[in-house]
Amino acid sequence: MSLRIEARPEIDRRLLYVTPLLAVALTVLAGFFIFLLMGYNPFAALYHFFVSPLTSLYGLSELAVKAAPLIMIGVGLAMGFRANVWNIGAEGQLTVGAIAGGGIALAFWGQEGAWILPLMCLAGILGGMAYAAIPAFLKTRLDVNEILTSLMLTYVATLLLSMLVYGPWRDPDGFGFPQSRLFTDSALLPVILEGTRLHLGAAVALFVAVAAWVVMTRTVIGFQIKVVGQAPAAAAYAGFHRKRVIWLCLLTSGGLAGLAGLFETAGPIGQLIPVLTPGYGFTAIIVAFLGRLHPLGIIASGILMALSYIGGENAQVEVGLPQAVTGVFQGLLLFFLLATDFLTKYRVRYVSTRREVAPA
């Protein structure tokens, strides 16, 4: 008897929904033993890690606040990944979007008007797009790998922000500390749930995800994107313009990242500071994959990732868990998710290895 791995003729749809739950269950189990070994009360630790953020309205709102940028960026990136366009520089694009939108806020600082915030959002989108246009141009014109260019540009964007916040955009009343002025009310994202930090950006993220789903599944361009990614030869044969798709994917993901950056700046932060996000541009890549590059799946995976961050903080406060365990946990969750994914595409069977006796 031996094990044989067979490809399933088609992906088992039931397993598609069961495997994430299985992965979470495996992570919880692994976590149980890790906590036990480290000397913590495993039940308390697991509760605070996974459940406590969900137990209050405030916790849920914070989940949404944290998940919103991840979802918005992830959706944009997923479109690109489907087309084999690897935008690894979302972190840089969100920074430039924040700079552009924040610049508008500072330029009109102190003024009032309902037009300021939409202008900022537009600037954020355009800023992110413009920054993503650089790798797009280099790829379509010179065939330079976009992974490399977009990645290098993230460092440049962060340094640009630092230069602005330490230099010309520094708050003159801020005792020389690297921060811009606090945005005035017209330049801040409205809170949509009283008593929480839940801002308009969360609603927009949801809308963007649904819109992306519609585009990817029901429009011609969505179809083109998928074909260009999976069968480039067929796509060329069918007349789908590969370069146009590349531009579209990079600009879209750049624009969404820029908007997400602007939302963070005009929302929870309220000013420009040297470090705007703890790496959302990179985390969004993982969110995109965990959501199986499907916009609705990304909503779920974005919430799951946000939960792991917030749960990690809660566990530090309530149980004294060291912060490093959060990273270990997230890594394990990802590993199990990726591993159980395997079961949707393949099945494992026992096969008899007894050979037939050849007729004499």
């Binding site: 010179l142 340094l159 912060q323 490093a324 365990v325 990273g327 270990v328 890594g331 595409k345």
Partner: protein, 311 residues
């Protein structure tokens, strides 16, 4: 800048380039076999903390370096199982490896903060180390630096002049053809991935035992990502990788020197100087792409695509 200080600068550049060279060489081999491992940062950190912890515990840097290589290989093994046997997406798995590695190394390393270790001893080669200029420049480094240079030569020779190297390249260019000839694609890739892990571990060991002999969380400071860039920058050739690592290390160091000597380069703010290495990489890439090397810059054709043997 005097002649003496030029020599000193170059020595510093050698130190800065070595961890990049280790990590990038490993990833080059991995990518030549058709696999993309984005988890270099995580593997380097695990290597760094393992090297440090074992050195502190056993007072033997040699054991520490060995342990780091094994630790890197184990991390790479996890990656290999997921991507090669379970055909998981390589980009996502690599990123997961990085996150896991950062957390694991911080967890393990928390007990080792504030403990100093002896820096790796500089190997003195009788006769050569006393040469006037070349002595301090080339012959006064620790074992890992020399190992990195040997590894570069070794990898280049392996890829081009040995049969196993040719098989590896074939697997990276056309896995289906290689499989049909009878080569075990998955095994070759496993070995390549493990090699990448060993090299990343050694790069991390260099950081924590020689470059700045201490343990600090996230002490790789993004070098794993730079290594990834270097592999692409080198168009998957070890010789160019060597140059790239030293170029990158050089630009990074030079901007610090520029600050320290002239109050900035042409009066530019420090952040602009810090941008230089990254902008330089993009510029060089764009320049090469349009030039006579076009067409020879192709990545291994199967890079990133999982191999599913038809059984």
């Amino acid at each position: 800048m005097t002649f003496d200080s030029t020599v000193l600068i170059l020595v510093t550049v050698i130190g800065a380039a070595t961890p990049l060279l280790f990590a990038a060489l490993g990833e080059l081999v991995v990518e030549r076999s058709g696999v993309l491992n984005l988890g270099i940062e995580g593997m380097m950190l695990v290597g760094a903390v393992t090297a440090f912890a074992v050195t502190v515990a056993t007072a033997s840097a040699a054991l520490g370096i060995l342990a780091a290589a094994i630790a890197g290989a184990l991390m790479a093994l996890a990656f290999g199982v997921l991507t090669l046997s379970l055909t998981a997406n390589q980009v996502a798995t690599g990123l997961a490896l990085t996150i896991f590695g950062i957390g694991l190394s911080a967890l393990v390393g928390s007990g080792f903060v504030g403990i100093p270790v002896e820096r790796l001893p500089r190997l003195q080669i009788p006769g050569l180390s006393d040469l006037p200029v070349l002595g301090p420049l080339l012959f006064n480094h620790d074992a890992l630096v020399y190992l990195s240079v040997l590894a570069t030569v070794g990898v280049a020779w392996f890829l081009v002049r040995t049969r196993p190297g040719m098989i590896l390249r074939a697997v990276g260019e056309s896995d289906v053809s290689a499989h049909s000839i009878g080569y075990d694609v998955i095994l070759v890739r496993y070995l390549a991935v493990l090699f990448g892990g060993v090299m990343a571990g050694l790069g991390g060991a260099f950081l924590s035992l020689s470059y700045t002999p201490m343990w600090a969380e996230e002490m790789t400071a993004g070098r794993g990502w730079i290594a990834l860039a270097l592999v692409v920058f080198s168009s998957w050739r070890p010789g160019r990788l060597f140059l790239g690592a030293y170029l990158f290390g050089g630009v990074t160091i030079l901007q610090l020197y520029a600050q320290g000597s002239g109050g900035g380069f042409l009066g530019l703010p420090a952040q602009v100087l810090s941008m230089m290495p990254y902008l330089a990489t993009i510029v060089v890439l764009a320049v090469i792409a349009g030039g006579p090397w076009k067409g020879r810059l192709d990545a291994p054709a199967c890079l990133g695509k999982p191999f599913r043997p038809a059984t």
